[in-house]
């Protein structure tokens, strides 16, 4: 593991007005890792990702990306830096076609030939999408939409990919497929992945390290394997 974290949260406090969603959250993500954040409903998992992306403002603390503070950088400036999020619930552009969705992922880029090659690459990762490039995103099934959302994020050429509940509302076989692709992206493209999941079992199997988030605070941090075998975690999150 390299010494310098690519993404670091330092004692971050954030929230929505008077509601404090995150209290003193510190994370370190090293290049090439798959890190999972697990936690119950309302623990602040999605808020963590939204805070990193600057959608939810930071009250205290700092977010460092490649050693540089991104606290005051507007959300739309992050994809060019290599930080991109697949938001919770997919949030694709429903009335635009698959191809238009992907082109929008490459919005900040101007290299047409390269964009075309990346689109082909996404189609090779998700052949389902390649079969119906002109279909509107909103008419896809949930699993296909999740694939499109991941594909769209890949179009930004991320160095760090933030994934918010990729398994939400999907059939087990589709979830397996999507997690295989995530592992593939991590392995073959060297993309660092920060994964937020309610499905702790799944997330910890895919991850190298894990954090446990409880009511806005990090309560545990360990290797994914150790967390998976931690009796307390098994009791609280794996239903034993």
């Amino acid at each position: 593991m390299s010494a310098e974290p690519i993404l670091e949260l330092k004692n971050v406090h954030s929230g929505y007005g008077s509601i404090k969603a995150l209290k003193n959250v510190s994370l370190k993500i090293y290049p090439g890792e798959v890190v999972a954040i697990i936690g119950a409903n309302g623990a602040g998992k999605s808020t963590t990702l939204m805070t990193i992306c600057g959608i939810v403002p930071i009250e205290k603390g700092d977010v460092l990306y490649n050693g540089m503070s991104v606290k005051n950088i507007a959300p739309e400036k992050l994809p060019p830096l290599g930080l991109c999020q697949v938001p919770e619930g997919r949030r694709i552009f429903p009335r635009l076609t698959i191809e238009e969705n992907l082109i929008l992922g490459a919005f900040y880029r101007n290299d047409k030939a390269e964009i075309q090659r990346d689109i082909e690459h996404v189609y090779s990762l998700f052949p389902v999408l390649g079969e119906r490039v002109r279909q509107q995103g909103g008419t896809l099934s949930g699993g296909e939409q999740q694939m499109l959302a991941i594909g769209r994020a890949l179009m930004t050429k991320p160095k760090v990919l933030l994934l918010d509940e990729p398994s939400l509302g999907l059939a087990p076989i589709i979830i397996r497929q999507i997690f295989d692709i995530i592992a593939d992206i991590n392995k073959n493209q060297g993309t660092t992945i920060l994964l937020v999941e309610q499905n702790a079992n799944l997330a910890l199997q895919a991850a190298t390290r894990g954090y446990v988030l409880e009511t806005g605070e990090i309560t545990l941090e360990d290797k994914a394997d150790s967390l998976l075998h931690n009796p307390e975690i098994r009791k609280a999150y794996l239903g034993e």
Binding site: P75, E76, F93, F107, A153
Partner: protein, 407 residues
Amino acid sequence: MIQEFRKVWKQYAITMLWLLGLLWPLLGIHPDGTLSFEKTVTVWSYILAGTFVCLVIYIINSSGHLKIFTDPVVGTTRKFSGIAQAMPSWIWLSVLFVCAVVYPLLTGRYATDVAINVLLYICLGLGLNVVVGLAGMLDLGYIAFYGVGAYTYAILNVNYGLAFWFCLPFSAFFACIAGCIVGYPTLRMRGDYLAIVTLGFGEIVRIILNNWMTLTNGPNGILGVKPIGILIPVMENGFTFEIFWVKKLEFFYYFALALAIVAIIAVKRLNFSRIGRAWESIREDETAAELMGVNTFNYKLLAYAMGAIFAGLAGALFAARMRFVSPESFTFLESVMVLCMVVLGGMGSIPGIILGVIALIALPEVFRELESYRMLVFGSTMVIMMLFRPAGLIPAKRVGMRSEERE
């Protein structure tokens, strides 16, 4: 056939009774307080007879007994649409263009007047389409920009004697500034809240126009605005230029046509550009657009400014045609009408909006013979149109347009 009838007769009977209940207060209560039933019953029985015939034809058709007649008709229309699609679109566009050019030569003053109105509203509708149809922001005060454009030309012309062509960019510029002024503080809002704020802005502009006596002459309006002047070469005693004032409606028509064509081309190009794509992503999901690297604030502001520019240009032309501006031309109702044209025609669809404008400007003129029932017929036509074509008269053909164009 009997079964088909069984399915609908209850609905039909209820609808007709409801119509009777609706018609009676409209036709049966007289201004002097007396009540009568005769007129209601006659009108109602006409409608009853008419709709019953339609119902019978519909039932015969849906049970398949009319195939002998409909099949050849469907066949020929299909053949014709096949031929139409095979022809390149520029042929259709040039036919339309020629029709538009010869229109004032073949029709009277009144028809030309209506056509100029249609052309100005096409420009307004397309401008509003950028804001509502592409960027997805509901704007209920759009006519304010039209007003700013019109007053800019009127004031610059009457007070400083500046020519139309000199003022035109200023009209666009000031409307654009107004767009940015309303946009900057309000674009953090979304949906309904934005609609209310824009509504307020529209009213503010109208009230300013109404009360700033020293600048706008208040409710009396500004009189004596010069029409468009163009330089034409004259060959008498050497080669000189002479100013020709476009006072005749037939001449003015061509300027309005030019503006409408510029607006159509501009909006079409914007729609299929990178900017258009950014606007559409904002309309679809603002947060997702932001996460994908779209600077949502700037693009929303740009949408406002672009929309306002079109309105400003149309406003300057409006002032040059009427040669008089007053705050009454820029009421909330006008904003709503432009919005209706966009929604009725089909948001985001250029041919749809053109048709929507024609429908909403021309229909009230066609129904003029119905006198006081005009607005009633107009309203019910709109309701029926929205029921049968909820996505607009010509819905935007979005699916895969860009992908196909590139191939």
